[in-house]
Symmetry: C2
Subunit: 250 residues, 2 copies
DNA sequence: CGTTAATTTGATCATCTTCAACATGAGTGG
DNA sequence: CCACTCATGTTGAAGATGATCAAATTAACG
């Protein structure tokens, strides 16, 4: 899943970040800002060395420093209760913001890179400051947070009311859509997370996920080779989750 | 659950709303504002006639108008997919804000009063305007939304990884804490929602909830008479959900 | 290559759901 | 105040979905 590598390379060469040139601008926070405002915005965007697979971006308990936007790669966000019973809350793809869990009173989740991943760092104080001059930014930030809330809530529906198969299918459809939104194939993609991660995220056992992949393959809906997915019958998949299309399985 | 009735009566007598005099101010959005700023804030707070039991505050599909704060009573927020398979997303108590699901692109949930309920209405545009002069307000609103996200996320953990009993206990402990925060008994309270609602919220069947209440009673942890709950052994209940204490079961 | 982790497959088991019947209880009109 | 009704809640028995345990296979990586 080496997304927008070209952009990254260009940015690194320049030694600075440019939202204007970023291929993800349409998906990201500065969406809808004019050139002038976007310049102002990108002046506060920070950047770090890429994270390696398995590396933590932040940990539960950490103080809140900034929101992050994924530039390339992907990551998972995990709640870790004391008893070690972890729960993956979501996966983040390029153009998506994460880190909201920390705003209230420090981070309650841990964010872990699933592959080599680059991020933009948005210190919230600085964002707030810029927003004084660019009111649209506040509004947009509210939007992004509201979308996060909606996504989590459709996930609640998925976990509370849907069967194992529905969950996996909804998950795959969500991924498909997100790849499509980023200009990639909606039928061929490769998963950056393990079966175990998928199972955990969907509230299932890894074995169940494995069996479900088998069942969907046999039904002729898709082909699986390890983490490579090829969806053969997108509409067939959609039909498989009755009325569950709203669930976005973030 | 006739909470803060006194305050309400006073407000209605005045013919206007006052956050300064509201007993819920410490829990609500203007928390932490000084007198001056709070005056400015309350000037935009609207109010409607009380909602009756079962009445909709807003419906999925409605355009977004405002955020709401509960002044008295309680309500549930429901996701209703086309197939009729509803899912309760949360319950709101006095001092709590709701309506965030609408900010992004119109409401995705329906909010239904569980009893006679009064609300404060906060038109987001007006809030944004006031926030230009009162920067702390933006920050506070981000906090409230972030808390909503955290609550939803601990709910994901609850639904994905916990047994039926853990879920019910976590739910009761959450209620207990919220009553306590509002100055009510943490051991004696009465539920404003049906068993069916509780079950739906927790991703269970109503029968299961009924049986669990029975089991917890037999274990001497609490007493149940219809919707009246008396918790006999709070620590016992807490011990029953290992390390799940973070789950707030909104 | 060899070693370890990830995934698949099979068999058994537990939890919770579903269906069905029954009890309780609140509200209404006689 | 009682009888009736509809909604809500409880209890029992059977069944299903998915978890768990165990073992085999494959893939990943030094």
């Amino acid at each position: 899943m080496a997304i927008s590598t070209a952009t990254i390379v260009a940015d690194l060469a320049n030694g600075k970040l440019s939202c204007r040139d970023c291929s993800l601008a349409e998906l990201c926070l500065p969406r809808g800002l004019d050139i002038k405002d976007m310049e102002r915005f990108e002046s506060i965007v920070g950047q770090r060395a890429p994270y390696k697979r398995g590396e933590n971006i932040y940990r539960a308990g950490d103080n809140f420093h900034a929101l992050y936007a994924v530039k390339s790669g992907s990551l998972k966000t995990v709640v870790s209760p004391p008893d070690g019973n972890e729960q993956i809350i979501g996966f983040s793809m390029p153009g998506e913001l994460f880190g909201f869990d920390g705003i209230d009173d420090g981070h309650t989740c841990t964010a872990v890179a699933l592959e080599r991943t680059t991020l933009c760092e948005l210190p919230l104080d600085a964002v707030a400051e810029v927003s004084q001059a660019v009111p649209g930014l506040h509004r947009e930030l509210y939007r992004v947070m509201a979308r996060e809330i909606s996504v989590d809530q459709s996930m609640l529906l998925l976990l509370a009311r849907r069967t194992a198969e529905d969950r996996l299918v909804a998950f795959l459809l969500s991924l498909s859509k997100r790849f499509a939104d980023r200009g990639f194939s909606q039928t061929d993609f490769s998963l950056s997370m393990s079966r175990h991660d998928i199972a955990n995220y969907l509230g299932l056992a890894a074995e169940t996920v494995s069996r479900l992949f088998g069942r969907l393959s046999e039904a002729g809906l898709l082909t699986v080779h390890g983490r490579k997915i090829h969806i053969q019958d997108l509409d067939g998949l959609r039909g498989r989750v009755d009325g569950c299309n709203t669930a976005q399985a973030s």
